[in-house]
């Protein structure tokens, strides 16, 4: 028991952070809640470092402390921290400010549970925990758009969650166990395994906003505060992707799961970018882009057990994705939600313009940026697993993605007199926290691109 708890120190730290931050909020001390959250997340990240290289499980195999779950903490905790800084800048001073921090940490905790799940019940728990907090966060502004978005999100999540639990019951019936590691017993009953797989894909696919379970994402992101959209597009998504990896590594191959995942990957990438091509609201554009990026993650998932690059590529891409996507959202927060707000911004504000170009080109996978290294490894993993056709589709989509991101870049460098819209009379006040966030994200987007070895060298597979 004591051994198990020692492995859970980071999760316990997050839980304590939630409790203390909630107390601070009840005392009407939002700044204290912020300080507690920031300190708690930093401490939890630090406490994760000794776990690097661990490959074990706790509580009778129900929760895994392995490469995936340790790296999930190292990526998601700092990403949460950045999202909280964004939220402070956007929602600071509002009523119930502290609850935002509490809910965000709760969703992060759920995502961490997902990424280490070794048991179907933990999958359900993680999904619900990260779901419940998310609805409240989307509804936070309490206006019509936010309420509608949260409602859609909630209904969608309830239905998909129910389907997942229903399907998991087949697995339980087939194996007599809720442990994922017992799924190999299903190799003689592929139908049963496939039924459960479809159910899990529905549940986790909604969380990761994969096509065809993505309908909630653009509406929820648009209705939510930008900082919350940024957070939802990164942390719960990565948690769900890692959970999917935990599930399929134990599934027998004869269920044909790699093909199912590959098809979803193609749908997500292609539909995501095609839909992004016609968006004029940047938050919606980035929402569809994040649907497509989720499809890229699946290139690593199909290679699970088939290529040594599989988990490495997923982890590197997760780190890259967190940095570049948070960075892009931070700049949207600073600049504005419409495409028009970006016209001429690259000429007026050189640093912010360069940073946005770097984030977008990284999302498109242009070297030597972080997104390139991640996608390159993902491509390698899927070719190694015999899915060359999937890699070809992903590569074609990369061209499409460039067209999507250039839709933002081109107006950024148009001469100011080209635009019909007059420049806003009062420029938004400088946002030092937002600037800090995109600067950090910028450093990581360049750093992961040039020095991916620093991460790769720490991974044991």
């Amino acid at each position: 028991m004591a051994r198990d708890l020692a492995f859970l120190i980071p999760e316990i730290m997050v839980l304590l952070t939630i409790v203390f931050a909630l107390v601070a909020e009840m005392l009407r001390r939002p700044r204290l809640a912020l300080a507690i959250t920031v300190a708690g997340l930093l401490l939890a990240t630090g406490m994760t470092l000794p776990l690097l290289g661990a490959d074990t499980s706790v509580f009778s195999g129900t929760y895994r402390i392995d490469t995936l779950s340790v790296w999930a903490k190292l990526i998601l905790l700092p990403a949460t921290l950045l999202a909280i800084l964004l939220a402070r800048s956007e929602l600071g001073g509002s009523d119930r400010e502290g609850t935002v921090y509490v809910l965000v940490c709760l969703v992060t905790l759920g995502s961490l549970l997902l990424s280490g799940a070794g048991d179907t019940m933990l999958l359900v728990l993680g999904l619900l925990l990260s779901g419940l907090g998310s609805f409240a966060l989307v509804a936070y502004p309490r206006n019509d758009a936010a309420t509608e978005a949260a409602m859609k999100f909630f209904v969608f999540a309830s239905v998909t969650g129910a389907i997942m639990i229903f399907g998991l019951s087949y697995w339980f019936g087939g194996t007599g166990s809720t442990l994922l590691s017992d799924l190999s017993r299903l190799d003689t009953r592929p139908m049963l395994a496939a039924l459960g797989l479809i159910a899990v894909t529905v549940g986790l696919g909604y969380k990761a906003s994969l096509v065809p379970f993505h309908f909630w994402a653009p509406d929820a992101y648009e209705g939510a505060p930008v900082s919350i959209a940024a957070y939802l597009s990164v942390v719960p998504k990565i948690g769900a992707i890692f959970a999917l990896a935990q599930v399929v590594r134990d599934l027998p191959m004869n269920t044909g799961w790699p093909l199912v995942i590959a098809v979803i990957s193609v749908l997500s990438m292609t539909y995501g970018y095609l839909a992004a091509l016609v968006q004029n609201n940047i938050v919606r554009l980035l929402a569809y882009s994040s649907i497509a990026q989720a499809g890229y993650f699946l290139l690593g998932i199909v290679a699970t057990n088939a290529s040594p690059l599989a988990f490495k590529s997923i982890i590197i891409f997760a780190a890259a994705y967190a940095a570049m996507n948070l960075g892009a959202f931070a700049i949207v927060m600073r600049t504005g939600r419409s495409l028009d707000a970006f016209s001429g911004i690259g000429r007026k504000n050189i640093a912010r313009g360069v940073a946005m170009v770097v984030f977008l080109l990284s999302l498109a996978g242009i070297p030597p940026l972080a997104g390139f290294v991640g996608k390159f490894l993902l491509f390698g993993a899927s070719i190694d697993a015999g899915f060359t056709w999937l890699t070809v589709v992903a590569i074609l989509n990369s061209v499409l993605s460039l067209a999507v991101y250039l839709r933002i870049i081109i107006p950024m460098y148009q001469p100011p007199n080209d635009t019909a819209t007059p420049t806003p009379l009062s420029a938004p006040a400088p946002m030092p926290l937002v600037r800090l966030v995109w600067r950090i994200a910028f450093i990581f987007t360049l750093g992961i691109g040039l020095a991916a070895q620093l991460l790769l060298g720490q991974m044991h597979t």
């Binding site: 070297p367 390698g380 790769l456």
Partner: protein, 489 residues
């Protein structure tokens, strides 16, 4: 020993960082930084030249670990094929900085982009690691996109977008091929030297990788029917951008054709040799005929590039088909020399068209006439460069094309119909010279100024080298030949 390759490679990047740091300095200082940095880079390239190459494999190798977990490292070095291209790139960038020292529109961003582009170009030619090569290859694309989009002419946004999408679509198959070669090598590595020494793929795998690479390099070169981005990009690009695009970046395609396609999948290349040869012949003839139909001087020069690059494809295909090592070396010597000649000649021609446009704000041949009397230095320079471009003996293209045709006659005599291209280019250049420079001067051009010091400095070295390379090509050919004669595939 001083790591002169890396110093040469990253000097422009350092210059770019310096310009970024000096955001408030006046344009003159910024242009001076550009000229000085690229001048130092040129000195570095000359230093590399003086160190020479090895008869066996690559020389001046510098390396350290980058991503050892996946077998990627920082590895740079040169051989007889890449060293002349490095020198050409350094020279063209230096001259381009001199030529564009009068740019007043956002000079900081311009110089930064140009310097990043220079590092990317030299990096593409010196990289000995496939990932490193791909990184430089793509960075050049991004900087050229911003160059066209930011400083081009009327329809620049569309042309830049087309250029970026087209060439990105073109370069991603190379990524597939690189991954295929990586997964085929044992142990897995991205070291291009090992891939060349022991080609990792055989049979169908090699053929698929070759097809992917051919697609990439065919778009980059460009070969008919993948050339449609080129005229659009050239017409809209600023003159300096055109010089770099044609003089340096088109060579990525032919250099990659030799370095990757020919050297890493040699057997598949030999099997596909005839088809590649046909593509080369068609590209050369198509480029010549298409150029014949142009009335815009810049489009004309752009299409003659398609023609000249076609000869290189022919030369490389002939080298793959040849069984006699001496003939093979001749064909490759000609191809590599053709890259250098084309860089010098087309660089000069794009400078000249740019100078004309600066003065007349038009590039239509029919709008001019009799300019030789008005601007004699510009006129005679154009005549010289045009004669070089059509392959006149004694000028740069002749020794290169002569060797290619010689080898073609030995190996595949039918393919010599490509020589028709020379007749057509001769005709179209004579027509262009006649329309623009001969006859009676139109009075609206009487006030046109001849070349100023800045323009003479940018153009002069190219014209001198065009003559020098035509009369005495040995000083370049010796370096090229050291490598081509030992290539085994």
């Amino acid at each position: 020993m001083l790591p002169i390759v890396s110093i040469t490679l990253f000097l422009p990047l350092l210059g770019a960082l310096l310009v970024m740091a000096l955001r408030k300095t006046p344009a003159r200082v910024v242009h001076t930084i550009g000229i000085v940095t690229s001048g130092l880079t040129l000195l570095g390239a000359i230093w590399m030249w003086s160190r020479g190459v090895n008869a066996t494999g690559f020389a001046q190798i510098e390396q350290f670990d980058w991503m050892p977990t996946i077998g990627a490292a920082y590895r740079v070095g040169v051989d007889g094929i890449s060293l002349p291209l490095v020198l050409l790139s350094a020279l063209l960038f230096f001259l381009t900085f001199i030529f564009s020292a009068n740019i007043k529109e956002r000079p900081h961003a311009y110089v930064v982009l140009m310097l990043i582009l220079e590092t990317a170009a030299i990096g593409t030619f010196t990289a000995l690691d496939a990932i490193l090569f791909y990184v430089f290859f793509e960075v050049s694309l991004v900087s050229m996109y911003f160059m066209i989009a930011g400083w081009g002419h009327e329809d620049r946004q569309r042309a830049a977008l087309m250029f970026f999408l087209y060439t990105l679509l073109g370069s991603l198959p190379l990524l597939l091929a690189i991954l295929g070669l990586y997964l085929g090598s044992d142990p897995h590595t991205f070291d291009m030297r090992i891939w060349i020494e022991h080609p990792p793929l055989t049979g169908t795998g090699a053929m698929l990788a070759l097809i992917a690479m051919l697609f990439t390099f065919a778009v980059k070169t460009p070969v008919f029917p993948f050339h449609t981005w080129l005229p659009a990009a050239h017409v809209q690009a600023p003159a300096a951008g055109s010089v770099i695009l044609a003089g340096v970046m088109l060579k990525f395609g032919t250099y990659g054709l030799i370095r990757f396609a020919l050297q890493m999948t040699p057997d598949a290349f030999r099997d596909a040799g005839i088809i590649i040869l046909i593509f080369g012949v068609v590209a050369a003839l198509y480029g010549a005929f298409a150029a014949l139909a142009q009335s815009d001087l810049k489009r004309l020069v752009a299409y003659t590039s398609v023609n000249h690059m076609g000869y290189i494809i022919v030369g490389v295909a002939i080298a793959a088909l040849a069984t006699d090592p001496a003939v093979r070396a001749t064909a490759l010597d000609g191809s590599v020399l053709q890259m250098i000649s084309h860089g010098l000649v087309t660089g000069a021609l794009f400078f000249l068209v740019g100078m004309l446009q600066d003065r007349a704000h038009t590039r239509e041949m029919d709008h001019f006439g009799g300019l030789l009397k008005v601007v004699p230095i510009l006129g005679w320079s154009f005549v010289l460069a045009a004669f070089a471009s059509l392959g006149l003996p004694g000028l740069a293209h002749f020794p290169a094309e002569f060797q290619i045709f010689l080898a073609t006659l030995e190996v595949e005599p039918v393919a010599i119909i490509v020589i028709l291209g020379i007749v057509i280019t001769a005709g179209l250049y004579l027509r262009a010279i006649g329309k623009v420079f001969l006859g009676e001067p139109d009075e609206k051009w009487t006030g046109m100024a001849d070349l100023n010091i800045r323009e003479v400095l940018a153009l002069g070295p190219l014209l001198i080298l065009i003559v020098l390379l035509g009369i005495a090509p040995a000083w370049v050919l010796d370096i090229i030949h050291q490598t081509t004669v030992t290539l085994k595939f």
